[in-house]
């Protein structure tokens, strides 16, 4: 189905957060810390205040009032301590963007710097074991005896993979526009992946009752997790608007986004696998080393994939964190599963070579009956089907496994495979369906960040009501609507759709209105392992002259329950795979060990794939019937597309060249390295 908001998006009428009209609007521009650790000694705003158009400067010299229990990344200007380079230490509010930005450059900040530590390593003395990893998984698990399993294996691999800092880089920079009314109520147009959650976070930060705050996010220009938690711009706009008693707008620059809107933690992952002579796993161990900040604990669930993927009697997974003088990592598309499956699926490829087995066959042989850790039955699992279908479509049976032997001129050609997985969750949600002018109005505080939520929910509601989609109008992106969970964790459609179906069912019974809250329904969900699976196949060409890698074919086959809408689903899968290609070959934000903070804070240096990179990307799926998920029978699809892509490409690079690169991204420098 074509997107219901397609017309406003192609005509330029879709309104994003910074774009709402506002009379007498002022502009805020932040001042950022230039040390990685220490204290602000003094902030001199005298010069800035004399510049044209300047209305106010906010800083720790006169801290704005916020709640004492506010999230430390959002409690702006409350403390003199600097936790990372780039942290907001002040902000200028002025009548125009140009004046605000010029005045911000004139704010003088004196620091008392301390020595900083921004480098993650697997032997860092500060490594510790967090109590849980996101979003509540056990930090470590163990069953059987990994050492014994490895000792009895016919083949083993013991390999370490590294992934760099990655930035979500949605195309729309984080922005907010805040208005206070005469009664002290706050309206924020925010770039949020969930209006309900953003309202709660802003209200908590400012110490306001949630009903005095409204957040509107009707169109969001991508997020990929970066807008899943409230970011400083929303709070800054509210504080600045309160200070100058005018509406205040702030749109972060691309550079600032790198500093304060989250990123994927770098990881160091050691994977040990043993297999018997038939290729059946005798042991699997996956340990992930990651970073967090001194402000907050963010423990990415990188090693949890081993708990889901393959049958083995001996299984250990573990996570270790270190607190560094960095901004807090946050969600980026398939947090945990994405970097974790890069390591696990690369290691499985290494095992296949070590054992002399086909990598598709190796995975098929180790497909488990029940979830390997914990033993829960799967609600449905079609990894084997995806592998077989992908192999058939890709022409896998014609593949000679020998690495480094296919050449077209200077170009070495290789193919690789990797599996994908992502949990299928849902969260409590409310929705209301009413009859309006003979048609149907469905309201839910969902978010459409490009996933097609508006369209998918229109289709789901139309199905539940038994009417044509053009008779359904879905309203979302507003915290005044029935409360809804975030567009994240691939659970948006499952969560919102459940509530929408129940509201529509109620409307059919009532004839006028249906209200739903799925809290109780979800409590009754059976205890099952619910996951989507997939298989990705890549063909790469690697220049033996330059080390350049080009992806000539990328195929994803997914099993993700009932696909609500084929057109939207294909786009989601392709988008995830394209981002995965970036992770494999080009994306990386280097950390500045000397000065702290990130180097490469723009899109000329942080490369994401361009149109010419994504030439032959294809996604298909197997239709699954799974009644244990939600009324739609759907599994989320926003994230699984990026899971496994980097491993499939890395495995193809090995097949092409015979050289295994174990640190992403796989750049010409790393391809050429063994030739020195």
């Amino acid at each position: 189905m074509n997107r219901v908001e397609g017309r406003v998006k192609v005509t330029g009428l879709a309104t994003y957060a910074a774009e709402y009209p506002a009379e007498n609007v002022a502009y805020a521009y932040p001042v950022q810390a230039q040390i990685a650790k220490g204290r602000v000694k003094r902030i001199d705003v005298a010069q800035a205040l004399e510049l044209p158009g300047v209305l106010a400067v906010l800083s720790c010299e006169d801290p704005p009032r916020v709640a004492e229990d506010a999230d430390p990344e959002l409690a702006l200007f409350q403390r003199r301590d600097v936790a990372y380079r780039g942290q907001f230490v002040a902000a200028v509010v002025a009548d125009t963007y140009e004046n605000a930005r010029a005045a911000a450059a004139a704010v003088r900040v004196d620091y008392d710097p301390d020595d900083h530590d921004v480098r993650l390593s697997a032997d860092h003395p500060g490594l510790y074991r967090p109590d849980v990893v996101n979003p509540g998984f056990p930090t470590d698990t163990a069953k059987g005896d990994v050492e014994a399993g490895l000792a009895q294996a016919a083949t083993t691999v013991d390999v370490t993979y590294e992934t760099p800092v990655l930035h979500n880089n949605p195309m729309e920079p984080h922005a907010a526009l805040a208005f206070w009314d005469a009664e002290g109520r706050l309206l924020v147009y925010d770039t949020a992946q969930g209006a309900s959650g953003s309202r709660a976070a802003i209200a908590k930060t400012l110490g306001l009752p949630p009903d005095r705050v409204r957040v509107v996010s009707r169109h969001v220009g991508g997020g990929f997790g970066a807008k899943g938690t409230t970011r400083p711009q929303a709070v800054l706009a509210a504080l600045a608007a309160r200070e100058v008693r005018r509406p205040v707008k702030i749109a972060l620059t691309r550079h600032q986004m790198f500093d304060v809107t989250g990123y994927r933690t770098p990881t160091i992952q050691r994977v040990r696998i043993g297999a018997d002579a038939e290729g059946r796993l005798t042991a699997l161990e996956h340990v992930a080393y990651e970073q967090t900040s001194t402000l907050l604990e963010f423990a990415e669930q990188t090693a949890v994939v081993g708990r889901v993927m393959y049958a083995t009697p001996n299984l250990r997974t573990a996570h270790r964190l270190v607190r560094l003088d960095v901004s807090t990592p946050s969600w980026m598309r398939a947090p945990g599963e994405c970097p974790g499956m890069y390591a696990l699926e690369s290691a499985m490829d290494e095992l296949a070579y070590a054992a002399g087995l086909d990598p598709v066959e190796l995975r098929v042989r180790n497909d488990p009956e029940t979830e390997p850790e914990g033993g829960l039955p799967f609600s449905s699992r079609n990894l084997v089907g995806c592998l077989r279908e992908g192999a058939r479509r890709f022409g896998w049976e014609r593949r000679d496994p020998a690495p480094g032997i296919r050449r077209e001129g200077e170009w070495l050609v290789g193919t690789g495979v990797a599996a994908s997985t992502y949990p299928a969750r849902r969260m409590p949600c409310q929705a209301v369906a009413t009859v309006r002018d003979g048609d149907f109005l469905v309201q839910v505080a969902a978010a459409d960040i490009g996933t097609g939520a508006r369209t998918a929910l229109t289709r789901i509601a139309a199905g539940a009501l038994g009417v044509a989609p053009d008779r359904v109008h879905v309203e979302l992106g507003d915290s005044d609507l029935p409360r809804a969970p975030v567009a994240g964790g691939s659970m948006g459609t499952a969560s919102w759709g459940s509530a929408v179906v129940r509201a529509c069912e109620e409307l059919r019974r009532d004839g006028r209105e249906g209200r739903a809250d799925t809290t109780e329904e979800i409590k009754r969900d059976a205890e099952l392992a619910r996951h989507a699976f997939g298989a990705q196949f890549a063909e790469v060409r690697v220049s033996s002259v330059t080390g350049e890698v080009r992806v000539s074919r990328l195929l994803g086959v997914f099993a993700a329950g009932h696909i609500v809408d084929a057109k939207l689903a294909r786009s989601q899968f392709l988008g995830g795979m394209t981002m995965g290609m970036g992770m494999a070959l080009m994306e990386e934000t280097p950390i500045d060990e000397e000065f702290g903070g990130f180097l490469h804070r723009d899109l000329a240096q942080y490369h994401v794939p361009v149109c010419a990179d994504a030439r032959h990307v294809e996604a298909v799926w197997l239709e699954e019937h799974d009644d244990a998920l939600n009324p739609m029978g759907s599994k989320g699809i926003g994230e699984i597309g990026i899971v496994g892509t980097a491993a499939a490409i890395g495995n193809a690079v090995f097949h092409a060249t015979g050289h295994r690169v174990r640190e992403l991204p796989i750049t010409p420098a790393k391809i050429l390295a063994p030739r020195f």
């Binding site: 950022q32 230039q34 140009e98 930005r101 010029a102 450059a105 200077e410 033996s544 002259v545 330059t546 080390g547 350049e548 890698v549 080009r550 070959l585 080009m586 280097p590 500045d592 060990e593 000397e594 000065f595 180097l599 490469h600 804070r601 723009d602 000329a604 240096q605 490369h607 794939p609 361009v610 149109c611 010419a612 990179d613 991204p665 750049t667 010409p668 420098a669 790393k670 050429l672 390295a673 030739r675 020195f676």
Partner: protein
Amino acid sequence: MKPFEYARATGPAEAVRDYTPGTMYLGGGTNLVDLMKLGVAEPDRLLDVSRLPLDGIEEARDRVRVGATVRNTDLAAHPLIRARYPMLARAVLTGASGQVRNVATVAGNLLQRTRCTYFQDVTRPCNKRRPGSGCPAIAGDHANLAILGASDACVATHPSDLAVALAALDAEVHVTGPGGDRIVPMPGLHRLPGHEPERDTVLAPGDLITGVELPPPPPGASLYRKVRERASFAFALVSIAAVLDVAADGTVADCRIALGGVAHVPWRAERAERALIGGPATGEAFLQAAEAELEQAAPLPRNAYKVPLARNLIVATLEELAP
């Protein structure tokens, strides 16, 4: 961005006459406006030269004169350039994006500044931006910086593709300035950093590039090739502009090699050229020539890959050009 005055120049001579310290000439703005937003460039006054009548591409006997304000797109699309200087057209087409090429001028392309991380960030030291403040790139982020001709003060690279092709073609840059008109032969426009990395070129304050003159295309076959990890819209890790003319007896009659992404200047590989001319046009000779050139390389830990990359690129390009 610091406030500034804006004025449009009425002619090249008038622009030079109007020049005062603190003035910068504005061409297409695709780099200057970018640097002004970053606070790297802080002119008091912009003198817009982009509409000066220097936008022609004309044949003058066996040479071609390209005006300074010719947009990159128009340069690459011009029949004379495509037919006679395909290497130049290719170099331009690999640069930036369609949007940027539509606006960026020939002179501005040559005068664009390095994309070194530290140069572009006013909160970190950089000798090029703030002489004497230090060069953190040497111990830090230099993966895409220079392996040839760098100094203790600066390891920046020049980012232009166009300049690399012009260096291989022995193009002449026409300059007018307070000291009168003069011609600067390529690759002599740009200079090595030495102890004055703040100076990218040999131009003096107030100098204005009015055009570029292309001598007759050298005999032989030519190629421009650019290496980057993304398929398009990226600066070169290393690039090469090469011309090779092989005589009937199989010896190299003439050879021009210029490298991009390896130095503060478009690097004319003169040692390699000298090693090749008069000798056999064989893969072995190409390798020896490349190695002779790269003996001078002084790579840093994270850009050492550029040495084998440049070597491979020279060899593969010459092999492709050899009959």
